[in-house]
Symmetry: none
């Protein structure tokens, strides 16, 4: 019976929709205020739903925080997968990953503050999650394969640890954006202007490619 089906779908979709709305509201709230500074009331308000429902679906503030973390990790890994780095030449792939990382962090400032919060709490949330570990392993694998291929092709130097490289790429973008407020306050130079951002990306590529390319 179509009505019954539609009804079931509607109900089920509502539940999914409510959970998605909560996750979205929570992501923004946690990103803006950190874990301790986040307010369940405001999350409910952002989601346009009753506060009680958050507990109904997620149990507690901490569990909600973990759900948000898993969510944003899944998002960035999906985006990374969509790059299809394996289909490019090794040097291009590294450059593309560097550009992507910069752009992604730039367009997802919430990712940065959420990660900082997770680390402030010593990753006790994430370390309970199998999902996140499973999501992230393939990336380093891919990068390792690219580095190896580049070495064989003679375009990249050998002996590069893919994890170290990945961390360095992320670091160059992350730190700049994460600390842009204090850096601006301290050095009195606007680091977020269009020009400054372009310069940073250019600098990043110089540093990373200068490191991986064979002289």
């Amino acid at each position: 019976m179509p009505t019954a089906i539609r009804a079931t779908e509607a109900r089920s979709r509502d539940a999914d929709r409510s959970q998605a709305l909560i996750l979205l509201g929570a992501r923004d709230e946690f990103a803006s205020h950190g874990l301790a500074g986040a307010r369940m009331d405001r999350i409910a308000q952002r989601a346009g739903l009753n506060k009680r429902l958050i507990y109904y679906y997620f149990g507690s503030k901490d569990e909600l925080f973990l759900a948000v973390l898993e969510n944003v990790y899944a998002d960035i890994r999906d985006a990374e997968q969509a790059l299809h780095l394996r289909d490019m030449g090794p040097a291009d792939a590294i450059r593309r990953l560097t550009e992507f990382t910069w752009t992604y962090y730039l367009e997802h400032p919430e990712f940065i503050t959420l990660l900082n919060s997770a680390n402030l709490h010593q990753a006790r949330h994430l370390s309970q999650s199998k999902r996140v570990r499973e999501m992230n392993s393939p990336l380093i694998q891919t990068l390792g394969d690219i580095l190896e291929k580049g070495r064989r092709d003679g375009v990249l130097r050998g002996g590069i640890d893919p994890l170290q490289l990945y961390i360095s790429i992320a670091a160059l973008a992350y730190f700049y954006l994460s600390n842009s407020h204090t850096l601006t306050a301290i050095f009195g130079r606007d680091l977020m202007s269009r020009k400054a951002r372009a310069e940073r990306l250019s600098h990043m590529c110089d540093v990373i490619l200068g490191y991986v390319l064979r002289d």
Copy 2:
């Protein structure tokens, strides 16, 4: 009257000591729990002093947080000054700064979390502080002079923005240490073992020196 003088001195010395104790307790508390997660009660406890005294000396939680930030910034700038980078050759100076930055962050994990907290709050604390701005200008100046000298000497390549370089050096150390918990949780590799730390520093130096040295 000697007694009066002694009394005054004693009182004033006690006052200084109390303030120092509070600052220390606050630094650890803010570093451990962030601004919102920090508890005035615990700060008082850490300082071994009455909570009321914090308000007497620092006014409010936010003002105390700013005082802590100014404090830790002063510390790192002092340490940087003590390096006497100008007395070294340009390449040595850059390597030394890289090593120093890594070591300092490693030995002062509170600096990292405090900065993250400051940035979470968009540096609204620091941007009110003249002291911090004054403290930081000399460093970039020094680094610029070193880069220029290196270029003239032919050992360093030209066109390097000292601020970009400084940020990159900091980034490579900061991100690794700041995110070590999540990185460990995600990639399942212990990044803080003695060996892993040595590898990271080595990698950092490779990246930075590879970038600044003239081919």
Copy 3:
């Protein structure tokens, strides 16, 4: 139509079963946590049914509590009726009632805590119930008849108020069992060991029969 009938029967049987399951779950929950401490959620869980159904059948928490009370009263009165005290000699009947009361309370600890809860709320639930009053009158009548017969036979002393006697029999068992936790905590003696329980029943019989038997 047989199908319709069967359907109706089935439905009605299910309905009865659901109500019985709810009552059972509610009895245990109220007994364990009191009226205020009981949770509708847990009752639904104990019954293995949806929470909404409780409201469908019983209207509210208070009405459910009353239903539970009526239920347990009906149970104990049925058990008392089944003793057929009138068929025994007066002294035997009193001893039998004493033993029965002890055993029943021992085997139905929920009865005790439920009654305590009812009394905490000043019996405002029970006082609205005609059913309970009707159930309980016969008992005192029976006991009165037994006492009168015993007096006429010369085995029991006269002037005994059956209600007072019934209350005393209940009291000696009820208090011991109801307060066994605090008594144990306070006097540091295990009152619920097999031996201790046997001694208590023996003591109770001594007290009650010593009172009713003609010297």
Copy 4:
């Protein structure tokens, strides 16, 4: 300096007074509504103090409940001590204890409901308290000595366990008063009229003394 002393006393007395007010308010609230039904707000209101102060002095609802229990136990033990039962003849002492127990429970209905609440929670509060255990040991000792003396004097029968006797005395009073609401609702007889109360005490004494006196 008298002013200083007075000031200190005042402050200290205020703290004591506040704690006493809270304890009193809590005692009534817990007695009226049980542990789960009690409301911290109402306790604060009864005490005429800020709710926060309850936590300042007592930590939590459970700890406050324990404090109340210790308090009411101390009260009844003090009252029992004040009877000086050892100074009376054995039979008089037992009668006096019976009368006292009845009167005390009658005049302190909160004691009964508090104890019921403690038992509902399986005495997990009291069992943590050393104070209560220490308070209660002497009583049974005293009663044992009285029973022994009575036996030697030939007025009391032998072989009576003082703890069993004490429990029975308490039981006969406690159950009647604790369950007066349900008993009234069920048997339709007013058990709390002046006449009914006098009859109950008389009955209690008959039962207890009939048991302990040598025939």
